[in-house]
């Protein structure tokens, strides 16, 4: 049972992505295989150098850096969205890889969850 958790909203504008991340961490805590997909505007979660303290929020970049520690094995970025938001591949976190979002991509997962 391999679950794909999708984050497709921008960081800091609302709590939706954070609550999706919590789902991923919970699956990992129970040793369930989980992959995170950053789709559409969600790729902005992967941008380096976020300074959220001025918004009095915690940095989602820091939350995300805990993903592999918590056992979320793979971070995947929507390749088309990276181009759309001008985020160069070499700026992505080490754990992240790019992919084209085809039907075959989604079919690798038993379950796909996007809030």
């Amino acid at each position: 049972m391999n679950t794909l958790i999708v984050i497709d909203s921008l960081p800091y504008g609302d709590w939706r992505g954070r609550e999706a991340l919590d789902m991923a961490f919970s699956l990992a805590a129970f040793d369930r295989p989980v992959t995170l997909l950053f789709r559409s505007a969600g790729v902005n979660w992967l941008r380096p150098g976020q300074a959220a303290d001025q918004l009095h929020q915690k940095s989602v970049e820091r939350n995300l850096s805990a993903a592999t520690v918590f056992g979320v094995s793979t971070l995947i970025a929507d390749k088309a969205a990276l181009r759309q938001y001008r985020l160069p591949s070499d700026q992505l976190p080490e754990a992240a890889c790019e992919t084209d979002l085809t039907p075959a991509f989604y079919q690798q997962f038993d379950s796909v969850v996007a809030l």
Partner: protein, 90 residues
Amino acid sequence: MLTLHIINKAPDHPRFSACLEALAENDALVLIENAVTALVFDKLPLPPCYALHPDVNARALSQSSMPGVKMIDYPGLVALTETHQRIVNW
């Protein structure tokens, strides 16, 4: 595995196109809530799909049905979840 895709977002929402891109051959697509306006949205490449009748009726779109779109009610939606083991909500 045959997948049932259920979408509730309006056709101009970014998730609508993401959903269409994820459809595999023989997957089923159901339009519910705001997504039923895809029945009239211009220039949308809407594949054969189902539309939830109570949502279609509320939005006065029952006259707008297209070939390839089947109307279902809630029991029909339940039936689709019986025959599809994998369900993705958009």
